[in-house]
Symmetry: D2
Subunit: 360 residues, 4 copies
């Protein structure tokens, strides 16, 4: 059941990298909402491969077909299913991986868990390609959130150790390489190309900001905004860490330094700083939600690595041919936005249950 | 529903800091398992306040009463409820907080979410005291996991920026101040006392290791071990970040450096390093699970802070009297173990569904 | 996890018949709602044993203690736990049942499922006594629903084959023996006493009506009002059938007869008949919800029955001494109301997620 | 979220009657299981329309495409999605229904719940056609259960008041008109044709039997086999009642009559009768599970009926043209088997969590 998110929305993601199709069913969307397919297409294009020399040359059209749940582009209340047909598949690349698992990849654990029946081809259900349906679900939530005045934008904070310390800016999302400081972005791109040239890869950090969130979303304990966002962000392959506000840096601070003083601003309660990342006790405080996700470097690299042969139970070496991103961070930016959008929209539905209705 | 964890186990945590009692119901435990109450008591004692000068002088007996679910100390298959009566409460300390929320605390967001009806006294349901029932549930899971050869132990990695870089060691859990390197632990304790003397507080980082885990626990997407553990660890108040294996540091590495080479060791497949923290594709690979949680400094401090009066909607200052931990990290160590134990035991039950039974 | 209802509310029921206590945790109640404890007490008294000669002479005070979740009788947003201490227990009555299971009772299946560790005493977690926490949860939901103009009342339709064909009337709930036609009620009581005199028992049917429900509650497929109500009503021990509106009788009708014609009544859309029991496509249509639950006769009877000895694996006879209701139907009436109240309130919260808020 | 079943399996049903496709995603199937597509096709053919003069002449190929989750016909551990393209749609038939809701149908309640955006065409998501994906999921569970020695077969017990009192027999499922007593079946068919000739419809009752179930499946309270089966059977449109074993008839019995005496049979514990329908305390006792579902007559009939115009808010009459089954009961038989199969397989997975594994 692990590919079904079951909150106030139920989101069921299906497909393998080289199956006939991948897709998603979203159950629990409000009826009567127009989905802007063009905007959704632009959003998906941001994670699509083959955009430039920084990522895999595989081309995926990634145009989703709305199978059901909408009539003439407007949600009808029934579950919405969107599907992307897989066309550009090269299964032969993956034949040896059944015996010799790639270090850092799910080949080995999938083999242990599902046995010989697992679909190793293209990474199967573990493929980064499965973030496309996540982005469909998230992209629709983003559109619904915008109507509520809530915006979400992520950006690259660091790649291969090169860090852009500038504060997040909304304008970033639209850039081909979404950093605040373009000169640093240029260095990051050089680092990616250098890794590529070495048959290697690099990781990085994505920061995400949610603005316009009303205070009062999220709940204590297991339903806190941190819990909700983390549960969704870790669904993106390669994420190995999540932190909110000052995050790990807060652990080195004193309380007097980390606590965000409340203040009045134009008659509204705000905080002077935002070390808490907009979340106190699991609940939004009206300040922007801010979090960062750490992405490990792409495990599939051309450079020779040590592995084992599962059939012979002996050590060997492996070089992964195929077409792989030397860095998935640029394409992961919209995935992080999508995960955040689902978490926030779900928390919004939860909060609505307790709001007085227009009728009352 | 946010205080109910609903996986293969259902764990419902209840209580407020100054309510008659706090407690937990665990639904889904196997029948016929003896619960070692003495061991559970020792485990709970590690998070209890009043142990020494490093934490709040509040005394809480924290002896849980098994209300139901066990007969003569053996689980009977029915939901197990354990309860701790609240005795040592001083509600008068909290009267002004209803109007002037503590910076960094849930006072403000709880007020926004629940209105005047919220139980501000002692932090209500947001109190760190609610980690006691989490530890009861986790402590029981720890005992069940030990029968499977799975052990969990956490330790302090850093406090107030002072870091113990030594690798984790199992022996640490039992120490009064659970660090690997005692001399560094001494410095950490000095930092805590210095903060206390200043009417201030410090944060820190806890590392947790799960050994003996079979390969194959956890699932892709939303049911990955990272998702499961993060969802539970963020239920501990003050956690602002979680990372697995190399975590955020992996984001600065190259793939060739971060990938854990597979190797043979005594006829078994292992990895030469463990940058993935024992988890690939959300699934355990048989190496120890390793993760770290960042705790912010205790928000309740005696030092004067800026806040606002909710009734007058104007800025003011606040000094929190009461009895507060200058650093909650030492007491948080067993809480992290508890959260991990619930996550791992739940994943174990999930995996069991697909194992061939003795009958087969 | 079977004793945790996990919808928009999470309701966790705990306890065994002879454990120190039984109780319930309700997670997801709105904050700021005053719970009328006196009214709740009256509601619980309707299911309490020892009321008269028709039921077991066991006395149970059944006064719930609110452990947490409310401050001065007003919900505070945290999970609400209510508990009833068990005082009047006679465990010695049940010793032989460990070896010789009562026909029609859960003794045997509990033994198979949980082994020797199961709590056979007083029926353990399978006891009808566990409907008390269900009634606490339902009784609170009833109070919340009344604020929305929704009322729920059930009544006895038949006992031991004696049927009260009169249409349901709201006034019935308050009666000591809740039937519409008192003369038929008198016959029912005679049937119960006759069975009791024979060391036997009788079953019956309870009908429940929900008035004031807005159209639009419930969803298609698994979330229909029938699904929701059935899932909760079957949680009451001894229920072996549930039907809505015309129910099984509809199966013998023609469409032209069973279809409820829409009509206008005071400017509002109503139906001329209510064979659908107020539910079309799983969704309320604004007419009263009507359903019936069939209760089998109490399995515990004094009359000698055939059973087997589990230790000797041979047939034997059994006479159940103890104090048992010759008919649980009268006491089951509020339980059915409680189950319906939880289902309806949960569906109301679900519908609220999609209503425009006062802010909009 | 109402179209997502979330148990040990997660089953997400999608599609509207006249959308491009309908389908289902099943998350949580074991890996390595071969799905017999031919057998699945035969199973689906039993519910397909256009089989004979007893049902709608609409032809639906209903050949499911496995989109993902299986490689070469063997499950791979990833979510399995199967889809059926909709081809034979006649949307013009439904235009007036947007204004004048059919009595007994979900037109009105869907309009209230989802507003003008709802997909009225062909019944949208409320169409009986959506039982096809339910049958795909159930048909796969049936195949998995058969490996465990568990068989499920349903049959028609009554139609339009004509009842086949003979005990259920396994051989029935394969018959074109699945009754035990063919002469009574002939009368039933005459009743259907008579209703059809009158532009009317008839309802009926389906009985389902599950054999080979081990004792110990199901749990007390909300997870009982009755709760599980009822929740799934009510997902089939037109079901208005469910009863187990003696069901409503048990309500008229005495305990001494209804209780099923335990006895020894070939060294195994059995019961002499099966009034409990194989379920005691929510848990299977090793006897066949027996339940019946009452189906109301098809609401869509040619005969003139009274309804209202939603636009004019005045009464009017309606005759439903289109192609409708005069009785859906024959086609509902496999749907009931499918619902039962999902419930039983889910309970089997639940029970497995607590069984000792081969390793232990």
């Amino acid at each position: 059941m692990s590919s079904t998110y079951h909150g106030n929305l139920s989101i069921s993601i299906f497909g393998q990298s080289h199956a006939p199709a991948i897709g998603v069913t979203i159950d629990g969307l409000p009826a009567g909402e127009r989905i802007d397919m063009e905007e959704l297409g632009h959003f998906l294009a941001r994670r699509a491969p083959g955009q430039n020399r920084l990522c895999t040359p595989r081309k995926e059209a990634d145009v989703p077909e709305i199978v059901c749940g909408a009539v003439d582009g407007v949600t009808c209340g029934a579950p919405l299913t969107a599907m992307i047909r897989n066309t550009n598949t090269r299964s032969q690349d993956y034949d040896t991986l059944r015996d010799i698992p790639r270090p850092g990849h799910a080949d080995y654990t999938a083999q242990i868990k599902y046995g010989g029946a697992q679909d190793v081809s293209g990474g199967g259900h573990f493929s980064g390609r499965l973030t496309a349906p996540l982005c469909i679900a998230g992209g629709i939530c983003l559109q619904l959130l915008r109507q509520e005045g809530i915006e979400i934008f992520a950006r690259i904070v660091s790649i291969g150790g090169i860090t852009d310390g500038a504060p997040c800016a909304a304008a970033v999302s639209g850039k081909p390489f979404p950093v605040v400081t373009d000169e640093i972005g240029e260095q990051m791109q050089q680092a990616i190309l250098a890794a590529k040239a070495d048959g290697d890869s690099v990781g990085g950090v994505v920061e995400c900001v949610v603005t316009g969130c009303p205070a009062g979303l999220g709940e204590p304990m297991f339903g806190g905004m941190e819990n909700r966002i983390a549960q969704l962000v870790f669904a993106i392959p390669a994420v190995k860490g999540v932190e909110f506000g000052a995050g790990f840096a807060a652990a080195a601070m004193r309380g007097s330094e980390n606590n965000d003083a409340f203040c009045m601003e134009n008659g509204e309660i705000r905080t002077a700083t935002n070390n808490c990342g907009g979340i106190l006790g699991g609940i939004t405080n009206g300040m922007p939600i801010v979090f960062r996700a750490a992405f490990k470097p792409t495990p599939s690299i051309r450079r020779e690595q040590r592995s084992v042969s599962l059939s012979r139970m002996e050590e060997c070496t492996l070089s992964v041919p195929g077409r792989h991103d030397p860095c998935i961070v640029p394409r992961a930016v919209p995935c992080v936005e999508a995960a955040a959008a689902i978490a926030v929209y779900d928390a919004l539905l939860e909060a609505r249950k307790y709001q007085k209705t227009a009728r009352d």
